[in-house]
């Protein structure tokens, strides 16, 4: 049995006197896609920020591949192999696809630290081919791409750098039907890479299509975790809303 890529044990977070997350526990196995659902204000964003290192938990611990860690910044989270695909994608619009893929982690060579564009371009091409992100060329400028292509690039970037876990924050919120299907295909493809995926989504259809397990949050409380195969939408909806299904 492999170790979980991420284990959150009894995480609690309060801001001043306000409790945002109380006693949250979750493990994510390699190659597993876990969906995090809940209404607005349920605490999903806070949880993402804790995992990505923006906030430190008030109590509880984070274990990555069996190693208990304390993360003080987003940089630390990246060092531990966790990548986040933000809702705004965090892409530099005027730059090329390949420069975005290597943003902040450019490959250099030579005594003067020259950018190794050849390597970056080749690797970009390989990655977009593997993930089937259809873009005109690694040279293409981000702002010339469609929303789906951009989302694909953001996911490709996370994939390139994530060693353990990718957090996806509403990956298809701004996309049309065809593009959503395309992005979902890319996300499903990540399973094969043996990294964990934690996805936040408002679309239950999407959650049921993609995830292995579903974790429900309501007002900072962890309501429960279900295997996607063993549950249905009614159950999840009643967990989210707190109203029992008829």
């Amino acid at each position: 049995m492999t170790q979980p890529v991420l284990a959150l044990n009894n995480i609690r977070k309060s801001f001043g006197g306000v409790v945002a997350i109380e006693d949250f526990s979750l493990t994510i196995e390699p190659g597993e896609i876990v969906a995090l659902v809940g209404d607005n204000g349920a605490g999903k964003s806070t949880l993402i920020k804790i995992i990505s290192g923006v906030h430190a938990p008030s109590s509880g611990n984070i274990v990555i591949e069996g190693e208990s860690i304390s993360m003080s910044s987003a940089t630390k989270a990246r060092e531990h192999g966790i990548e986040v695909v933000y809702q705004d994608l965090a892409l530099a619009d005027q730059q090329s696809v390949y420069m975005n893929l290597f943003l902040g982690r450019e490959v250099t060579r030579g005594p003067f630290g020259q950018l190794d564009r050849k390597t970056m371009i080749a690797e970009t091409q390989r990655l977009v081919d593997e993930l089937d992100v259809r873009i005109p060329s690694p040279h293409a400028t981000i702002r010339d791409l469609s929303g789906g292509q951009r989302q694909g690039i953001a996911i490709a970037r996370a994939t390139r750098w994530a060693k353990k876990l990718i957090l996806l924050d509403e990956p298809t919120a701004a996309l049309g039907v065809a593009e959503t299907a395309k992005v979902e295909k890319i996300v499903a493809g990540l399973k094969a890479r043996n990294i964990g995926v934690l996805i936040i989504s408002h679309s239950l259809d999407q959650v049921f299509r993609l995830s292995d397990r579903i974790c429900v949050l309501r007002r900072g409380k962890q309501i429960g975790i279900r295997k996607t195969a063993d549950t249905d939408k009614n159950e999840i909806v009643s967990m989210i809303t707190g109203l029992s299904a008829a």
Partner: protein, 330 residues
């Protein structure tokens, strides 16, 4: 002049690239060529094409080109530095005063004080922008006035002669293997600036910061440090321009650089650098700067009255800027 990625296997056809986002990069070259050809024909008997005159254009634009390089870094990082004109004056005066104070080590004192003043202004601007998060437009608008005042008070408006022959040779009137020192400075600054801007990680971080500071931050780029650094570069370049002016005029004066800001901004924008960050070109800035110098030169040689010179120059800059910006925001 095209990006070096053309060597890559997946390069799209030239036509596809030309019709893409890069078109405005070429506006400045086409414009430069058109203006050059126009003057070459119209002024064929008026001395425009003489070697002497063409070299003069490069000499005259050297300080503006140097300042433009600094501004490309600042604008690409999403900041603006309006204080470069005043920086030129305080640097030139600081250098000249240091040379007068330490005649036995005039060269070192002059360079140290001149560049030091430039870096100091850059540090003030950069610290306020990067760490106090004040908008650079307002910060440098204020420091522009502040350092213009400092320049005036340094010498009570007097001009200071610069007599050290090594200094004036190095920064203004000298030659190396028959090439004027100002030409060498221009080439060196453009080459180094272009390399850093296009070929290094740092250049990529500057562009990313100006393009999307949040994206830069979450991918681990030290955005405040980048912001500070572009002001240091801009200040140092303005300081160097101050030294070039004082070497060329063999004197420093508080008015040096005062009227250059608009020329520098025009050169940089026409050269394909965006006003709001994320895109810039050092070579474009060089060509833009030469274009401004050539315009001044040609319009004077055409024998136009001073007001007509200003009107025509303004119209041409307007057209050039309109074309390059239209292409960008298409």
């Amino acid at each position: 002049m095209t990006a070096p990625q053309s060597a890559a296997p997946t390069t799209p056809s030239l036509l596809a690239r030309l019709s893409g986002a890069n078109l405005q990069q070429y506006v400045v070259y086409v414009g430069f060529l058109a203006i050059f050809l126009f003057f070459a024909v119209v002024l064929r008997d008026s001395g425009f094409l003489t070697q002497r005159n063409l070299i003069n254009i490069i000499l005259q634009t050297a300080p503006v080109t140097i300042m433009a390089i600094g501004l490309v870094f600042a604008l690409s990082a999403g900041e603006i530095d309006l204080s470069i004109g005043s920086t030129v004056a305080v640097s030139a005066l600081g250098g000249a005063m240091a040379m007068a104070a330490f005649p036995q080590a005039a060269l070192l004192a002059g360079i140290g004080a001149g560049l030091g003043m430039g870096l100091l202004v850059g540090l003030v601007n950069g610290a306020l922008v990067a760490y106090l998060r004040l908008p650079s437009f307002l910060v440098t608008l204020a420091t522009m006035g502040l350092f213009a005042g400092v320049a005036r008070s340094l010498t009570q408006l007097r001009s200071i002669p610069v007599t050290d022959p090594v200094f004036t040779g190095l920064f203004g009137s000298g030659n190396l293997f028959g090439i004027p020192s100002l030409v060498i400075w221009t080439i060196a600054a453009v080459a180094i600036g272009h390399f850093i801007f296009r070929q290094t990680k740092y250049g990529a971080h500057v562009l990313a910061t100006g393009d999307n500071a949040r994206a830069a931050m979450v991918t681990g780029i030290k955005v405040p440090r980048v912001r500070l650094s572009v002001f240091l570069i801009s200040g140092a370049m303005a300081g160097l321009a101050g030294l070039l002016y004082s070497g060329r005029l063999q004197a420093a004066k508080y008015t040096l650089g005062e009227t250059d800001l608009m020329t520098v901004i025009a050169a940089v924008i026409v050269g394909g650098t965006l006003l709001n960050g994320g895109k810039g070109s050092i070579i474009g800035a060089l060509v833009g700067s030469l274009m401004m110098g050539m315009l001044n030169n040609g319009l004077i040689l055409m024998g136009l009255s001073v007001s007509d010179q200003m009107i025509v120059r303004g119209l041409i800059i307007l057209i050039a800027v309109a074309v390059s910006l239209r292409e960008t925001s298409r």
